[in-house]
Amino acid sequence: MRDITIVGASLAGLTTARSLREQGFDGRIVVIGDEEHAPYDRPPLSKEFLAGTSSEDDIGLTEPDDSGLGVEWRLGRTAEALDTGERAVLLDDGERITTDGVVLATGARARTLPDSVPEGVHTLRTLDDARALRKELVPGARLIVIGAGFIGAEIASTAVGLGCEVDIVEAAAAPLQRALGTDMGSVCGRLHARNGVRMHLRAGLAELIGEFRVTAVRLEDGRELPADVVVVGIGAQPNVEWLADSGIPLHNGVLTDERGLTEVPGVAAVGDCANSHRAYTAESMRLEHWTNALQQPAAAVAALLGREHAAPAHHAVPYFWSDQYGHQIQFAGHRTADCTIQVEEGDLDSGDFLALYVDGAGAPVGVLGIDRPRAFGRWRRRLAGRL
């Protein structure tokens, strides 16, 4: 393989370029990214950067060493099509880049409401989103967060710290339900109430009110909540539409094998856009987690270059963290439908605990910890023992 194109210039794309060099690839690397910015880190966008304690410099992902990567950057340019026959990537300005290998690292974007929205309504995925939202979170502002997932919860937490008044509107019976299940979602969700955030559960959004600028949110039960700012945090979807005619198998992202290879020779996918087979769950999953975007590229690069790759066993255990109201939430593993909860340390009521998810056969399959990093790290590795 002489040259490789990487589409997507964020965590997974940059890590792919670094992995290529680490694994001895000395050919040409082109990285295409539709944002103007050099690669930056997203987790701080809902946390320190939004809070104003981290600057744009602080969240930059590239380091001085990276100039040695010899990457040809194409920033502010969008890949519009992939010609798998010639392995050519077509850019919005007409450039056609033909290489031997292509790594898709296009990530995901925030899901939006179907209708056009008035001013003051935001989503949060990019640096530009975070800059815009930050300006609006002034002391006393009334913020309504639609969706009580991790991003919504973090924004609520940061906004409280900035002196905003916050309501969260959630359609499910518990916050964080999809990731943690109803019971543990409720336990973690108590952090909101403790910090003065009002939670409206089983509440559907009927309409945003305001002609030019949002003034309130109407719920399906008719209640109206006044608002100065609204954040829609209802999940993300993979950026794969541009591949529709390429012949690359797509289903909730780019389908790949365990190593990140697609069915099309010489084309791999990594990070949030990849729906990859996972040994841990024995099924394909798209993981929207930082650690996956960091760890997956090394395996995909090795597969592309035809090399062996051995990663530590616990890398196969899905893992994410979240920071809310000064607490560290960590989860590893996978929640099965028949799971029950077993508290290992601390207690649920105090909100300082380590709990296991145990499947129907009595085997631990997941671990959740709040402010218990040491024990959590041990369990994360013990879970890998299942493999």
């Binding site: 890590t15 670094r18 880190d41 992902l61 380091e63 930082w290 650690t291 960091l294 530590p312 963290w321 560290q328 960590q330 990093p373 040491r374 959590f376 790290g377 041990r378 590795r381």
Partner: protein, 110 residues
């Protein structure tokens, strides 16, 4: 010199945290002792809570790995090295000599 404790209380694979000018983590790697700054340079995780893997410790939060000999991180999300410190054992008692700056610590080793 900062007194850490008795060597017997710090068996291989274990770590201890002591307070110097900044918090310091002391590790026993198969009988060899190392000391580095306890606070991860990425955020404020405590590296003494991390996972020991050979001569490296993995941060318990976002998994940056720091080389105990040089203090250097092996990759993101940490960018800056932690300081390394000298450890000595006298009559079964462990002490740390806190070093002055990150740069001095890193240059001293490489």
């Amino acid at each position: 010199m900062i007194f850490v404790g008795e060597l017997a209380d710090l068996p291989p694979g274990e770590s201890a945290r002591v307070q110097g000018e900044a918090p310091i983590a002391v590790f026993n790697v198969d009988g060899e002792l190392f000391a580095i700054d306890d606070t991860c340079t990425h955020q404020d995780a405590s590296l003494s809570d991390g996972w020991l893997e050979g001569c490296a410790v993995e941060c318990p939060l976002h998994a940056a790995c720091f080389d105990l000999r040089t203090g250097r991180p092996s990759g993101p999300p940490a960018k800056k090295p932690v300081r390394t410190h000298q450890v000595s054992v006298d009559d079964g008692l462990v002490y740390v000599l806190e070093s002055t700056s990150v740069d001095a610590a890193v240059e001293g080793v490489s």
